[in-house]
Assembly symmetry: C2
Homo-oligomer: 189 residues x 2
DNA sequence: AACTTATCCGGAGAACCCTCCGCCAAACAA
DNA sequence: TTGTTTGGCGGAGGGTTCTCCGGATAAGTT
């Protein structure tokens, strides 16, 4: 059949793809703004090849952090097992913030992606699902307003995207922001 | 003295500067992403000239909307005269949102500027002052938490920057966001 | 073995951003 | 009048992003 053929054909593509990802990972660790040009060059590959594998810069970055994002989204369940819904929600948001701040490029990608709705497929799917998960648990526990949607939550904490990861005080400001935002999401009594 | 000389020398510069601004205004009304190249060309001026007058793209956009921003910041005082602090605050934020959404390019400029701290001089000055003004009035009236800073407020409503001005429902989402954010900024009782 | 087809590769090329430097012309000084 | 200084002008040039298409290579076909 053609399965073997497809696999073999893919084999070449997958090699260069893996090579690109590896190089990109190194490059992004060195500096947080890297030209796609240099990545292609360092991978010993034409720029066109890079663009066929990753049509946009976001696609590349997403792929780099795919597993990290998955780990993050899966964490929502674990946190809910080990903590109260309220605590789990807060802990998850802090983890979210840390991911966004720590991983070079991820912040910007998450931000623009959310804005353009493209995020809906690649990132918003899992991330919004995680938010939804935590949200529902908290609504049942009565610790979050019953009329909230995941979209509301993501907008409420969008200030995170404004923080400067290279500034010293991002952690303090993130904490502060989450305090205020969560206040607004709690049920009014 | 040299004053006359300076004025005359400036006269030429001011003409091309004005011409650049005029062309830029037209161009930005046609489409919301314009190349600086095309602006220079349409103004019949070298690209270098444009860059000397407006070292960055943000500088140009800021200048385009400078009067609008001033009108916005001044509005804080007027609103406080005519409404309760709480109402004034809300009305001002809605106006802020409308400005950011309506004027092409302004949204992005405000956002990046806030993030990079550069806003501190050009935009944050006036804008943060307006926020501060409203903030203090509300704190005295007991309608906003006493421990808030202007920075807190701007971060809390930063979700506005995530809205897509070309989407139909930005107004609804902006409303919603402000509702939630303001909830979080009210004093806990 | 020769031919066809699908898949992948590579880089030229257009458009853009931004910098840098040489040129001009007005203002001033000798 | 003839330098000299100074503010302003223009565009070449290096770097980037992204597109597009011709060439190679391997799989399948006759």
């Amino acid at each position: 059949m053609s399965t073997k053929r497809v696999e073999q054909l893919h084999a070449q593509g997958l090699r260069t793809r893996a090579s690109l990802l590896e190089v990109a990972r190194e490059a992004f660790e060195e500096s947080r703004d890297v030209s796609l040009n240099s990545i292609a060059k360092r991978a010993g590959v034409g720029i066109g090849t890079l663009y066929r594998h990753f049509p946009t810069r976001e696609d590349l970055v997403f792929e780099l952090y795919r597993d990290q994002v998955q780990r993050l989204t899966r964490a929502s369940g674990e946190l809910l097992d080990e903590h109260s819904p309220q605590e789990a929600f807060r802990l998850w948001l802090e983890r979210f913030a840390r991911y966004a701040m720590t991983k070079a490029g991820l912040l910007e990608v998450l931000r623009t992606a959310t804005a353009h709705g493209r995020f809906a497929q690649v990132g918003r799917g899992p991330v919004a699902d995680a938010v939804e998960h935590l949200l529902v648990a908290n609504q049942q526990a009565g610790t979050l307003r019953a009329d909230l949607t995941a979209d509301d939550v993501l907008l409420a904490v969008a200030g995170l995207y404004q923080l400067d990861p290279s500034a010293e005080d991002w952690e303090r400001r993130a904490h502060r922001l989450l305090d205020l935002a969560l206040c607004g999401l709690r049920p009014r009594d």
